[in-house]
């Protein structure tokens, strides 16, 4: 998430949006079985321009516009995968994945397990825009990763940087596990360094800042918030360690455990609804370990348990923010 101009050699600065587009292009070039499907992703480049230029480059057979039929689209991707294709489906808002939820979690996620090895892997990737911040209300702003991560058979990825957007997407396309790939709307224009060609595997959290006083855990947009809050906290003399989960399923809590053993304090920040969410799972996993005495109870910062209001002012009130993270961290230090 750094916008520093002192780039590590061999890396290039890229917008998150462009990193995704380029990763798609690279995988399509590498493997003729990769193809894209989604509403208006062809000549129109997608609602958020995430497939810009790909239609011209790869043509209508591999960059395929679909009608407003999410169930049929994801189902068709399953059929294609059965024949050896690697379909990448774009759904412009992750909220809309609930219209084809059965197809994702009962079909895509389960069929190979049910049929056994007679069925090839079903390497479908479903890319969807996640998160709030645009003032577009309750049906276009949700963070639904926990719904997918609760169900077996899917990887669920939530990149916060361009490198993860590119690397994890490439990994997902090559993986034999179906993947839900959630791209945060408010990160699309962020620039950060990418190592061209790099492929990243799911299931590894990333320590984005070291510290000794408390551990802040985020993912997607809240990974950015956590890092920004750590800067504020440093100014207050609090050394926060920050972890970007990156992958919600599989979920790497070892990295979190190591950190909390050091800091003795854990705050998980999520933009999603709090109950049964990522924070709950992280904390339950840590609670099951013998972590000894913690300096403060492990806790979660999330949105109020209600839908997302459309009004920009209300949305800002509703969402986690740097200052809310900082405030809560300060409270935890005082506890």
């Amino acid at each position: 998430m750094s916008t520093s101009s002192s780039l590590v050699p061999g890396t290039v600065l890229k917008k998150y949006r462009v990193a995704i587009r380029d990763a798609l292009a690279e995988e399509m070039t590498r493997d003729a079985n990769v193809l894209l499907m989604g509403q208006d992703i062809g000549i129109s480049n997608g609602l958020f321009r995430l497939t810009e230029g790909l239609y011209e480059r790869f043509g209508p057979e591999r960059v395929r516009d679909t009608p407003i039929s999410e169930t049929a689209t994801v189902g068709a991707a399953i059929g294609l995968a059965m024949l050896g294709f690697r379909p990448v489906v774009e759904i412009a808002f992750s909220d809309l994945m609930l219209t084809c939820f059965d197809t994702i979690v009962n079909q895509l996620a389960k069929l190979r397990w049910m049929f056994g090895s007679q069925c090839p892997p079903l390497p479908v990737v479903i890319r969807a825009l996640t998160g709030a911040g645009l003032g577009v209300g309750s049906h276009h702003s949700q963070s639904l990763e926990a719904l997918f991560a609760h169900m077996p058979g899917l990887n669920v990825l939530t990149p916060a940087t361009s490198a993860d957007a590119a690397g994890l997407l490439k990994g997902a396309i090559r993986s034999s596990t179906p993947t839900i790939f959630l791209e945060h709307k408010m990160l699309l224009r962020d620039s950060s360094p990418v190592t061209p060609g790099e492929v990243r595997q799911p299931g590894e959290a990333f320590l984005t800042r070291t510290g000794t006083d408390l551990t802040l855990v985020g993912y997607a947009y809240t990974a950015k918030l956590a890092l920004q809050s750590a800067v504020e906290l440093a100014a207050k003399g609090i050394a926060a360690e920050v972890i970007d989960l990156r992958s919600i399923s599989p979920l790497d809590t070892d990295t979190v455990t190591t950190s909390v053993l050091k800091t003795g304090r854990l705050l998980v920040i999520q933009e999603a609804y709090k109950p049964f969410g990522v924070g709950a799972e992280v904390i339950a996993r840590l609670a099951a370990k013998n972590l000894g005495h913690l300096k403060a109870p492990m806790d979660r910062l999330a949105v109020p348990f209600m839908p997302i209001p459309a009004s920009k002012a209300l949305e800002q009130f509703y969402l986690p923010s740097v200052s809310k993270v900082t405030q809560r961290a300060v409270q935890m230090m005082a506890a």
Partner: protein, 316 residues
């Protein structure tokens, strides 16, 4: 009858002014979010909604300003919602895409395409169970017709013989894709026969013809008849959302005729310049007042969201 023509014109003019104005305000960043307008599609809104009774129900779309205004919603309440203000129809919580006015029996837009059609069947069933003669009009775009939910709703309405008028606002685009990429059939009205009711297809620019058809079909329903489907054909004037570069748009597909001009041409005697100017002036006045109202209002006290949650049964 003559008054009716002037009324139709007035309602279309109100919508036109409203849409032109919100586009300008949006460009000036007076509010955020997406903006979908129905500019050029005024004859559908007015022809359909103008033919309803107060006790009828309406489900609208994500492009619903026209539907709401034509059903009698004052501009200022709608605009305040778009501005996200407490004085808006839904206190700024629902927003432009989902705005509803249930006091006027408008379920409103829906952020998830196709989800309003099942709700419409439930409303219609409820009306029948209550032995009321009211009907439900459920509007959806051409692209939305390919959602599974619409299919299920149409079949349900058919087998239970529910008073639902399904209105397909066919504007030749589904977001950024043309009709021909979404359908192999010539007309969405052909879908009706798949459920066992009647389908009609009509130019959506002739407000009188639209109104007459809707009148005829709804009065059959009021006497116990089952559902029907009407496709109303226009060609979208603007982009899917305001700001849409529309590079996908085939230049040969010209925007459909201006329904206000068409009505003026058919009734020059009733819609002389003076009449039209007076209507325009009134519309502008309503609009100006609405802008003042929307700007002036404040946002809902965020703490009130919790009260709303408790009130609406959202558990803590």
């Amino acid at each position: 009858m003559n008054g009716r023509i002037v009324d139709l014109f007035r309602e279309m003019q109100r919508i036109r002014i409203f849409e032109e104005t919100v586009i300008r305000l949006f460009k000036a960043s007076e509010f955020s979010g997406f903006l979908h307008t129905g500019i050029g599609q005024e004859a559908i809104a007015v022809g359909v909604c103008g033919s309803l009774q107060a006790e009828d129900w309406l489900t609208a779309t994500h492009r619903s300003h026209g539907h709401l205004l034509a059903r009698g919603v004052p501009m200022h309440l709608l605009l305040a919602e778009i501005y996200g203000k407490e004085s808006g129809l839904c206190e700024g919580v629902a927003g432009h895409v989902h705005v509803a006015d249930m006091t006027r029996r408008i379920v409103g837009g829906n952020g998830v395409l196709g989800q309003n059609q099942p709700i419409a069947t439930g409303l219609a069933l409820g009306l029948r169970l209550r032995r009321e003669s009211a009907v439900v009009v459920s509007i959806f775009g051409d692209g939305t017709a390919n959602e599974g939910a619409v299919h299920e709703a149409m079949n349900l309405a058919a087998i239970w013989e529910l008073p639902v008028l399904f209105v397909c606002e066919r504007n030749e685009f589904s977001e950024l894709s043309p009709y021909t990429s979404q359908f192999k059939i010539k007309s969405v009205a052909d879908r009706a026969a798949a459920y066992g009711f009647e389908g009609y297809s009509l130019e959506g620019t002739d407000v009188e013809a639209v109104g007459e058809l809707v009148q005829r079909l709804t009065s059959k329903m009021r006497r116990g008849g089952g559902p029907a489907l009407v496709e109303l054909r226009v060609v979208r004037w603007h982009g899917h959302y305001e700001g849409d570069p529309q590079q996908y748009r085939d230049a040969a597909l010209r925007p459909s005729a201006d329904p206000l001009q068409l009505l003026t041409e058919s009734h020059p005697e009733l819609l002389g310049q003076e009449v039209r100017e007076s209507i325009l002036t009134h519309a502008r006045e309503e609009m100006e007042a609405a802008i003042r109202f929307a700007r002036q209002g404040s946002h809902l006290d965020p703490e009130a969201l919790f009260a709303r949650a408790a009130d609406t049964g959202v558990p803590p």
